[in-house]
Amino acid sequence: MSSVAVSLNSVSKVYKRSHLGRTTLTPGVADIRFDVAEGEVFGLLGLNGSGKTTTLKLLLGLLFPTSGDARVFGHPAGSREAKKSLGYLPEIPYFYRYLTGREVLSFYGGLSGLAPATLRQRIDHVLAEVRMTAHAHRPMREYSKGMLQRIGLAQAMLHDPRLLVFDEPVTGLDPLGLREMREIIHKLNVGGKTVLFSSHSISEVEKLCHRVGILVKGRLERIVERSEWTTGGKSLEDIFVGTVDPEGRRS
């Protein structure tokens, strides 16, 4: 039996903002419950503002849940043990402009606790994986968007984590970049990694995922198994639209 990589149990997040003595409460996500098994590729689909990034940030410890419990391989989300086993690629990866690609990787590898000899080896390996070896000595301010995305991917894989969390990994990529990203995610999964990612791109999600969670206005409305869109007679797009807009108001 495979172990549980990610588990969210009734997780809710309410954003609280105070300004000049006035406090405003904005619901982020409510009562999110799902598990991701080790070795699975799980996608989070939803419209803008549906709570995809909030859900991922709760798992990463960048946000603290208002209620509920989030765990990564059994460890509380945000704990050192949980962070040791995950790699994260944000929607738009931001880096230090004055450092080179290799220096940035060396920096993140150092923070992940990699020993110098292992670090050098891993940097060479991940640079080759994302085809950035030739550009590794250039400062980051000279990189194109696609190159930044590749270095972002490299830093996520650097410490060889068991779980990879990608926030909108295909946004803004050209067709070749899209294909490369798909191949990398597939290769990671074949190598035994668990991948959890959010996306707007239904076509990418349906090619890669074993299961998909559909978020609507901060709530997890439905979890769809791969068999439902491969043999169930409905495409993932039909299932998604039917879930987010059941009465067809937007069509």
Binding site: G61, K83, L86, F95, Y108, L111
Partner: protein, 253 residues
């Protein structure tokens, strides 16, 4: 410890590559210009004027570099979201903050050392006879900048705004140089003002004990005032960083 060292090392590198060398270059240009000008104007007091001007300029340039660096030290990382990739690594948040602080202070100190070397070189070129007290002034200035860096990091996290943090830090800087005057005025007023002044004085940094001109009998042969000043600077900075860590640990991104 390795993560602390990693953060400090890259912060140092980032600061040096970013803007600090400009501060040193500007200082060198200013000092050279001033020495040439004052050579003509100050006649027999030329060395004295260059000495005072150099010490004041080193401190002000160090302060500007420290303030600019520390108000943006964490806030800029929050705005540019570079902090996401750091805080999702297995390190405790206070370690990140202390590492960033150490990297920044080292970079500012390095720029101050470069400025001081240039200053001393200029003095020798003008025929200065070595005064050991000047070499005590340099580390004391460095400690003052360390205190201000810690305090500004605390202000930036408490207010989450770079302009507000800058204004408060500058206010603390000014008040920190007028502690005894503040106490004197409060005692003249009497009543609750004395107690209030006591609280304010405890909170603001006592920068007068890090000013060579305000400390009597300082020399390498009687090191206690220097040791006392260093201990005070260390404790005050540690308290600022502990409070800043408290704010930072509760922040969401």
């Amino acid at each position: 410890m390795r993560t602390l060292w990693t953060i400090a090392r890259y912060t140092f590198l980032q600061q040096i590559r970013n803007r600090l060398y400009l501060v040193v270059a500007l200082f060198a240009a200013l000092m050279m210009g001033a020495s040439l000008l004052l050579g003509a104007l100050a006649a027999d007091q030329e060395i004295r004027v260059i000495l005072d001007l150099g010490l004041a300029t080193t401190e002000i340039f160090g302060l500007v570099a420290a303030l600019l660096g520390s108000v943006t030290l964490v806030l800029e990382e929050m705005e540019t979201k570079t902090i996401y990739l750091i805080l999702t690594r297995p390190l405790a948040r206070p370690f990140y903050l202390v590492g960033r602080f150490l990297g920044l202070v080292s970079a500012v100190w390095a720029s101050m050392v470069a400025m001081s070397l240039f200053h001393v070189l200029l003095l020798y070129l003008k025929g200065w006879e070595t005064d050991p007290q000047v070499f005590i002034a340099f580390p004391l200035m460095g400690l003052k900048i360390m205190v201000m860096t810690g305090l500004t990091v605390l202000c930036s996290l408490a207010f989450s705004s770079a302009p507000t943090a800058t204004v408060f830090s500058l206010l603390f800087w000014v008040m920190g140089h007028f502690g005894p005057e503040l106490k004197f005025m409060a005692e003249k007023s009497g009543g609750a003002t004395v107690a209030l002044a006591g609280v304010v004085q405890a909170a603001i940094p006592n920068l007068t004990i890090l000013n060579l001109r305000d400390v009597l009998d300082v020399s390498w042969s009687a090191p206690w005032p220097i040791a006392r000043a260093a201990a005070y600077a260390g404790l005050y900075t540690a308290a600022c960083l502990a409070l800043a860590s408290g704010f930072f640990s509760r922040k969401e991104f």
